[in-house]
Symmetry: D2
Subunit: 263 residues, 4 copies
């Protein structure tokens, strides 16, 4: 039965569409990111990467982000509970097929509010709720400011359902760094939903990636890092086994998403 | 491209399915509910009720609930951050078509965690995140216990994105009460998601209702009530205009959901 | 310099006293409690119990509580964000001096809101913020209701600063149980604050206990339990070493505090 | 009775002092601040400013801050749930006595975690728990970045106990601005605690101000502002009547507190 309302972009559906959890793209995001590349036993990747996409290479990256997001009119910036959220993104490199470039796959990602969660699902990011903390760099010379210069130490953590899942730290070198993880290559995710009207239904997954335009960066400041994925009764990051932190970086970036691309 | 993993019930998809946000039904729910029936100008219902379902009758109910939910093995009860959540459910009566029974439609509903949000979407409840508070009755004669007896006063509130949206209070009569709102009649919701790979796509809504089995109740204790829906820049409850609180009740109920029914 | 305002009970001080974080007692509390007694190596108690009070006996109890609190007019019950909080209380038995009765000492206690934190400090409870979850028993026969009868399983947890600190579970026997922990004997705490106008000042501790009147109970239902105190970079419960869960119980209780007693 | 432990700085008291909620100063703070000066009917200030300090001049400022704080070893920056918090600070100017300079008084201030709350109380800030949101400026040219340049719009809000209490917005001019509020003049607060062992005791207030050293600033970028204080059943900011937003600014600052000064 069709809905009589002017099409709303998402539920809840109302006559005006004002209550919709998410409004239509474009979605503009700007954020502070702390990025930690890591290596793990590639065979363990099969627990988290579907074989069709290719095998895990044993390389990955975790991104901790403090985002600000808005639509074209930017009204969310005037009531920032609607704009801001923190996120932890785990991406694993998948071996390219002949003639293809490197890509990442995102098995697990965690945010702290509902708008971002749904916007993510629509783009293929399989988000759950989790609490991310990350040190911010401020343009001050002061013991609490962690400025973007050699010797500053930054920390980051993720907890899910009242348990610490990820701990990371970065000591900045002050030198310019390369792009890491999803900043460096297209990143694919899988979503899809079961149909509860059909007994025994399970999700039909779709592989998607965000259709990103208008990307800007502040430049990335490099560092060395530590990283731990902790055991958790539900979240499966520890299945990657021992992870060895590699290159790390911090900086700001902005991007605009206008939709999603099927993979 | 099909996913190689054993089908998981929802994202995130992993080889084991352990990280899935939601596991397959049956889902068992038991909760403490405070229910406040209300009346409003029926013509205002068109802002929130799609015409195809029938017109709003000017009757509705708001339910405040403190739930505990689990699957068949009940493991969530041993780690209750996985089991518990609070919820505010608004339902509006829709005029039955000839030969039909009364039904309710749920335009807006708010929970405080992710598992419940997705489980709700799969059943047709258009949930968003919100913070619900409701006084609990304890089996004690004590000034802070609000026991289920004449004269006890209970309060309930909902806030969404840092703003109070609903305030209610109930003074118990101590007498047995009838079922109200979604406790009394089938309740329909609408969900559906846009396809971001198609520019201009909006959600294709589906009308669903939960397929409920094995329902138990403690009996409902009646009361008189007050109710206010506050203005909010996003949430549209205040479009119902002045609401007049009617019958109210409080009590416990359990139910099991095995799936959803298309409407 | 004296304050011109009519004395407020606590800061913030305003002319009306309305904004004070805490109003004067009596304070009425009613709650659902899950209690787990435990044993530990008594010598380890010296890390958490000051020697003046007597030595730790190697017995203790952890209480998980879901409280509702109000003043004499009970207005908090009508706006329950002001009434409700969850709490984890750890108490350790101290060996009585000749002629004295058994007593408990509370080294660590955690709540989830500010009013309760300050009210606690004024009574000698050294509260910090932490997140407590505990399964509730509902008067229903249903898989999610965990009724107060043989075989029901209850869980409880505490996390502090995004890390799980305590996990407990209780399987009810359905039999009546004795009072445990602070329900069974007076419990002492220590508070006191440094004077920042004096360089090098540290807190001058005071030993206090709550002055409790008008206590009521629902009766306690017994059970067997499991209990773990996890390592934490700040919280020191794991210094008690391996703890062995003993008797456990669950039930409701109410009490009224009219002040504090110096010890 | 003296405590046998090595003096801890605050409760909870343990043998090691590790669990103390607050460790001894110095305390280093660095933060992003959005500042909105305002005017109000000076006579209304008597509701919030004690007469002994002098009369309210009808000028005030509200500061929204996103802080990062640590001790000398900076370990909190490596686990930022221990370092970060958001705060709303309301200060009212008090008419100087002859020969004195302008000063501010802080009647009401709100933070979102416990460590900051206690550290504040020890310095005279009468903190309560509240949720502050404020837009951040990022060094990017992007619709979501709100850079520190002409035309950028920033929002800020405070909610307390699930109700919006303050809303503000700032449109940056991009020009350099003067210091506002507590950034421009010493600011006094009042704390003090009742003794619950004495029936009828109320708090004995002390006037204090922070002893600040080593202050740095990024420079302040000016703007025009809007500001509303909303009615609230407990919080009394609306007693100031209609407030007229004046000068506004945004920027970063760092400071170190080594103690408190009696006033």
């Amino acid at each position: 039965m069709p809905l009589s309302f002017t099409p709303a972009f998402t539920p809840p559906f109302t006559s005006s569409g004002r209550s919709a959890l998410v409004q239509a793209p474009p979605w503009h995001y700007a954020g502070w990111l702390v990025n930690v590349a890591f290596e793990f036993d590639a065979e363990r990747g099969a627990a988290l990467v579907p074989a069709e996409l290719g095998a895990a290479t044993g390389k990955g990256c975790v991104h901790f982000a403090d985002w600000q997001a808005c639509g074209d009119d930017g009204h969310e910036l005037l009531d920032p509970v609607y704009a801001q959220y923190r996120e932890t993104i785990v991406v694993l490199e998948i071996a390219p097929k002949p003639g293809e470039d490197a890509r990442f796959y995102c098995p697990l990602i965690y945010v702290d509010q509902d708008i971002s969660m749904l916007r993510g699902w629509l783009q293929g990011w399989p988000k759950k709720i989790g609490n991310t903390w990350l040190t911010r760099s401020m343009p001050l010379i002061h013991p609490a400011a962690a400025p973007l210069s050699a010797g500053s130490r930054l920390g980051a953590s993720l907890s899910v359902k009242e348990r610490r899942l990820v701990d990371a730290s970065v000591t900045l070198t002050g030198e310019k760094a390369e792009r890491l993880g999803f900043l460096a290559a297209p990143t694919i995710g899988a979503v899809g939903w079961p149909d509860l009207t059909q007994p025994g239904s399970t999700a039909t997954p779709c592989y998607l990636r965000a259709d990103i335009i208008d990307r800007v960066e502040s430049g990335w400041t490099g560092g060395s890092a530590t990283l731990q994925f902790h055991d958790h009764p539900v979240e499966e990051l520890a299945l990657l086994g021992e992870v060895r932190a590699g290159a790390a970086s911090a900086g700001w970036m902005g991007l605009t998403v206008r939709g999603a691309l099927a993979v």
